[in-house]
Symmetry: C2
């Protein structure tokens, strides 16, 4: 792991870019010197980790007393992507916008992305937990499909906040009932890319008894700011 | 308005019983001397205001910096009830437990209860706002059907937290779209007396854009303790 750059923000948060093999990542750590619990903040395949909304979320969560890490998945953000990848993504976006059935395209695009992302996040987790400024326990935040896979495969993750969840690959929909850690599912009621009923069905399917659903009005990017604080308090209940 | 008894609790909260004409009520005020914003805490027809869960909720909310008031509706708690009232309630309980259709019985029991409760709560509100220890703005908490009616009829109420909402009389289901104040709807996912889909439909129907749904696992009385704190933060955003 190599830190390639870093800056100290006004509230004391240290924001550092790193590379881990071919994986580019960002690590945010709080100003205090005590080892902080870690939150893995993953985002869906279309966005770079440098997307301003994601960065704002990470910084706020860190100021709350957590170490937060994000990486770009293969084919996302700063990483090379093939023409075939680009084509499949364009097909998916066009089908969603046209209101066409997207399950098969979605499966072919996102299914493999989840599978490829899991070992990269596990390697990242191994490396981060070896740093003196980071302690367990570990939480997860963001991309629902990857979070389901990690929550089932990775016993070090003890609580997870999922966003959206309307479209989730078949394999993760099926293993949702194996998720037994505390969950907070965040749903935008009129999310243009995530059918509401599917998200409600997924919430129903999770195996854990300690699951909470928060739904707010508006589209995919309209989550109100107070949900960020609610999310931090959810982690406080389970990670501190 | 006559205060008939009172006690100071360990955290400084003052808990006083009062009567207002034939209405028996309880008023909780915080230990601080500054006038506090008011929350009207109403409960469904079957419970007395002295029910321990309701009292615990009121005391906690008061310790958060609010004045909280509760009254027993006509035919509830300490107030006289007729044999016909008792019979209709018993019919309703039996029908719910037997899984029979309950809409008509429900309508005949709860519809008139809502209508009778509204002027009593308005009289209570007038009286409470004249007390020096209470200031506006005013929030509402609890019984969904009454809350819808009050939110539409009473411009002094500026934010409301509703519980359950599976069974709501026809008149209030229809006027839900006239509710334009910020709302927090609390739903128990397996509430034995409140069909989930109806509660979700009601959430969808509210006219306000500032509405949030919190759903948790378990039956009617299984709401997790942290929702009490989430509720206080919701009021903080709108009443302080």
């Amino acid at each position: 792991m190599h830190f390639t750059s870093g800056q100290r923000l006004d509230d004391g948060v240290l924001e550092r870019e790193f590379t881990l093999g071919e994986i580019p990542g960002t690590l945010w750590t709080p100003g205090s010197t005590a080892p902080a619990p870690l939150i893995l903040m993953a985002h869906n395949n279309g966005l770079p980790k440098a997307e301003p909304r994601l960065v704002a979320r990470a910084r706020h969560t860190t100021a709350y007393g957590y170490a937060v890490a994000s990486i770009d998945a293969a084919g996302c953000g700063d990483r090379p992507r093939s023409a075939a990848d680009e084509q499949r993504r364009a097909d998916l976006r066009r089908a969603i916008q046209a209101g066409e059935p997207v399950d098969e395209i979605f499966e072919s695009v996102v299914g493999p992305l989840v599978e490829k992302a899991v070992p990269e996040w596990q390697t990242t987790l191994d490396t981060l937990l070896a740093l003196p400024e980071i302690a367990g326990p570990v939480g997860y935040s963001g991309w629902t499909a990857l979070g389901i896979r990690l929550a089932v495969a990775e016993p070090r993750i003890t609580a997870a906040g999922f966003f959206a969840g309307g479209y989730v690959p078949r394999a993760q929909r099926e293993e949702a009932r194996q998720v037994t850690i505390p969950l907070l599912l965040l749903l935008q009621w009129d999310d243009e890319g995530n059918p509401r009923q599917r998200a409600l069905d997924l919430f129903d399917a999770f195996g854990t008894k300690e699951k909470t659903l928060h739904a707010n009005m508006g589209g995919h990017t309209g989550t109100p700011w107070f949900e960020l604080e609610d999310g931090c308090r959810f982690y406080d209940r389970h990670l501190k």
